[in-house]
Amino acid sequence: MSEKTHLVFWPRVGETCQNTLYWEETCRTENLGNPEESDSGSETQVYPAMETQSKLTTQKLYKIIVIGDPTVGKTSFVQRYVQNSFNKNYKGTVGVDFALKIVKLSETQTVRLQLWDIAGQERFTWMTRVYYKDCHGCVIMFDLTNKNSFINTRKWKIDVDSKCTRPDGKPIPCILLANKCDLPYRQVDQMEIEDLYKEHNFIGWTETSVKEGLMVDDSMKFLVDVVMQQDGSQEVKLLSENLKLTGHGPTSKSYMRCFC
């Protein structure tokens, strides 16, 4: 993985992540043996498990959305991260909202990540609020070889910020990913990305190659660390009065029973 050393990552992973949890990933789909899998991507990052943060016992669930222009590599990114495979002809599974990745932080603690892909089909539009709702973190992706996709990241960021916020009203942590860094002809230079990242309050940015599997796990780790830090600093909303509609509920006779 020599390429990785010269990939830019702002802020540098080591600088801001020192105090966050180290974690260990369980790549449960590691051995899928996808025939299309590229050679360089099969390596998995394994971080040494740190001592258990004993107080946390529940299994956290985080919703991470992945957005950006069509064909920048969102679905491939999700597939690479969750299944560690790259398939040029991958089509999203029909009828599924998100991919699930379980990340093991320690012996007793795991995190479930719901990776909401754009469903491939909504590529010509803004997302419905349903897609954004209650998300904890966001990946905005563009294609280094497609200037337009870079320009549009600004719109995507504004769209996210206008449609969802954390419970305390702050913006959702967003990471900016410059995909397809394995390709030779770039239309976007690093200074431009750097400026955009600063101007629009991304938590960080990095170049990635989903095809080669470069910085996919690292960038997600970085994002999830920030998500978890923020989650920990918030009051947990306990009893919500919001209703989810399930089952058939009681019969309607309660009124009639009153005085009989």
């Binding site: 956290k60 669930l61 222009d69 539009t125 919001n242 209703l243 509609l245 399930t246």
Partner: protein, 645 residues
């Protein structure tokens, strides 16, 4: 974004309103290739919900509708024997838009900190934003308004117990994201067709609701709670034990009328009111049943009144205290839930893109058949075409819509009837004579994400008679304070100075005869049972055509289906019914929105069989829910679910 849209579809749907979205989801769900377009850059069309910035833009767009594209190159995409019909008409045009502010643009520095500072200015400017100058706040004209009203409004007595926030336009706009303002606010009956559909299709997982916490009515010039649940009936002091018996007997009769049709003998052709009178109900009970439970009027036929009463009672006790649910983030969420399902099952979405023309040819029986649409200059072939009324070529409609809906949206600084807890309120405001169309009032607060903390949003809806503002004027005056507020003054209740300062509990009893009609005269008593009417901070009136009663099938090509816009009704029933009809015409033998699997039910190759997550942030809560759906119809669970109050 580049245009690499495929050119062949089973169904093209134009418009992302309620009916269109349900149809799109249903077609996609059974594997049809669906393309869903909308010329707007937001979902929902006339059913949308906007944040504050969004609604400002919507108002602006209504004033300056985009010019339809030139049809120069279009003919090139039609084949021999085919005709191009230009799409789009004026039948969805919003009219009589009146936007108005009631607060200053900016608070002076000293006002920010001084909550109870006394007003020294007497000439609070009334800011008028009429049709032509809603664009920029600089454009607003300021207008002096009557000195005496301002005096009254300023209030000599400073009431320290009403510490509301001081709002300015700038302050409100800063919070623009926290608003969700509905163009077509609608409730769901807990056992209505939409709730059943959301559950049976599993689209419910995309949405969250809150229960309407109270049903109010306007009786004897004040707002009163209508007892909905058993607990309410027991708690209320307005109803005596004798009355409770009468009420229960009557409601039981309505519920069981199929079995005991004798009960209504002789009333079949008479108004519901006649029947109620025959039961010798006390006036206030009669009022509750007629206006709040049946949501009827003095002229509603008896059996319709009975059916309406049944509908209300049937939905009781499922979720929460009242029969109604309100979608979190507003009604505009619901179409989007269906759109998401459509997309997840492969439907293709493209906003900011409409159909410029429809390509048809003569088919069998001299009926026209639609082959394709022209969109973005391209020909997109389809087997079926579903159009929101507003996108249909005018000749597809037999008649132009003749009715309209009058809408009012008000951002206020407190509830119309303050309570210990934030309430979600439904109020059917009867017309002055008790026989005309009522005004539906829905008040939602910050917990539904309708607005930032410290505010409420009041929606008013009724059938259009003149203009929205004129149609709603009476109700606005009774419920809301619409004088200009300069942000510094604390209002006292000028109304109650001349009348009783009765607490809401100590009110009229059986002696309140003839309440119908007297609400118009008694100016002094017109205070809604609380200390202060809410101050309106901002308001918007508009009229929207009512297309639900148009004949949408007479003049369309055989494979084209039109969807009406929002109707005046309280709920989504019409849209659900229409969508089902359209779907069954397209795919007669297919199931309508069969249950979509939960993610955990889909086992991907190589995945472990660990149970997947449910759609909640809180995993413990999610588990509880999981149990619920597994356990199915258990009454107790459902009761817990709803009994969040």
């Amino acid at each position: 974004m580049e245009d690499d849209l495929p050119s062949e579809y089973d169904v093209i749907v134009v418009g992302t309103g309620m009916t269109e979205s349900i149809v799109a989801a249903a077609a996609s769900r059974i594997g049809k290739r669906v393309l869903h377009l909308d010329s707007n850059e937001y979902y929902g069309g006339l059913w949308a919900s906007f944040n504050f910035e969004g609604i400002q833009k919507w108002i602006e767009d209504c004033h300056h509708p985009a010019n339809p594209q030139e049809e120069n190159v279009m003919s090139a995409v039609a084949n021999d024997g085919e005709m191009l019909i230009k799409a789009g008409n004026q039948f969805s045009t919003i009219s009589n838009i009146e936007e108005k502010w009631y607060i200053v643009e900016e608070l002076a520095d000293y006002q920010e900190g001084l909550l109870f500072s006394r007003n020294t200015q007497t000439d609070g400017g009334e800011i008028k934003g009429d049709v032509d100058n809603t664009k920029k706040e600089e454009d607003y004209e300021t207008e002096k308004h009557e000195e005496e009203e301002s005096e009254a409004g300023c209030g000599k007595d400073i009431v320290p117990h009403a510490p509301t926030q001081q709002w300015s336009q700038a302050k409100l706009k800063k919070e623009y994201r926290k608003f969700n303002l509905d163009l077509a606010p609608k409730l769901l009956f807990a056992r209505g067709s939409l709730v059943e559909l959301l559950i049976s299709s599993n689209i419910a997982r995309y949405a969250e609701f809150r229960s309407v916490t109270r049903v109010l009515t306007w009786l004897d010039g004040r707002l009163e709670s209508v007892p909905c649940s058993r607990a309410d009936v027991f708690a209320t002091r307005h109803v005596t034990v004798v009355e409770k018996r009468m009420l229960m007997k009557l409601l039981t009769a309505c519920m069981e009328y199929e079995n005991s049709s004798k009960e209504f003998e002789g009333f079949e052709d008479k108004p519901f009111l006649e029947y109620l009178k025959s039961k010798k109900l006390t006036p206030n009970l009669l009022h509750y049943v007629l206006y709040a439970i049946a949501m009827a009027t003095g002229t509603t036929p008896c059996m319709e009144g009975v059916a309406r009463t049944q509908k209300f009672l049937n939905s009781l006790g499922r979720y929460g205290n009242t029969p109604f649910l309100w979608p979190m983030y507003g009604s505009g969420e619901i179409p989007q839930c269906f759109c998401r399902l459509c997309a997840v099952f492969g439907g293709l979405y493209h906003l900011k893109r409409a159909a410029e023309a429809v390509i048809v040819s003569d088919g069998e029986d001299s009926n026209l058949t639609c082959h394709a649409i022209v969109s973005g200059g391209r020909r997109l072939n389809t087997s079926h075409l579903v159009l929101a009324v507003g996108y249909a070529p005018p000749q597809f409609l037999q008649t132009a819509p003749n009715g309209g809906v009058s809408r009012g949206i008000f951002i206020t600084d407190r509830s119309i009837l303050p309570a210990d807890k934030e309430s979600l309120t439904l109020l059917q405001f009867p017309s002055a004579d008790g026989c005309g169309e009522p005004v539906t009032v829905i008040e939602v607060g910050p917990s539904t994400n309708a607005c930032p903390p410290g505010m409420y949003v009041v929606h008013m809806t009724c059938k259009q008679k003149i203009t929205a503002r004129e149609d709603l004027q009476t109700v606005v005056q009774k419920l809301l304070h619409t004088e200009f507020s300069d942000g510094a003054m604390i209002r006292t209740n000028t109304d109650t100075q001349s009348t009783q300062t009765a607490s809401p509990n100590k009110t009229h009893s059986e002696d309140s005869e003839g309440q119908e009609g007297n609400e118009t005269e008694d100016k002094g008593k017109s205070d809604p049972g609380s200390d202060l009417k809410p101050q309106v901070l901002w308001s918007l009136f508009f009229n929207c055509p009512e297309t639900s009663d148009c004949d949408l099938t007479a003049n369309v090509p055989t494979n084209v289906f039109l969807c009406s816009g929002p109707d005046v009704d309280l709920d989504f029933e019409h849209a659900v019914k229409q969508a089902k009809e359209i779907f069954s015409k397209m795919y007669q033998d297919s199931e309508f929105l069969p249950r979509a699997p939960d993610p955990e039910e889909i086992v991907l190759e190589g995945e472990e069989s660990t149970p997947g997550p449910v759609f909640e942030g809180d995993s413990s809560e999610a588990k509880a829910d999981e149990n619920k759906s597994e356990l199915g119809d258990e009454e107790e669970k459902g009761a817990d679910d709803g009994g969040a109050e």
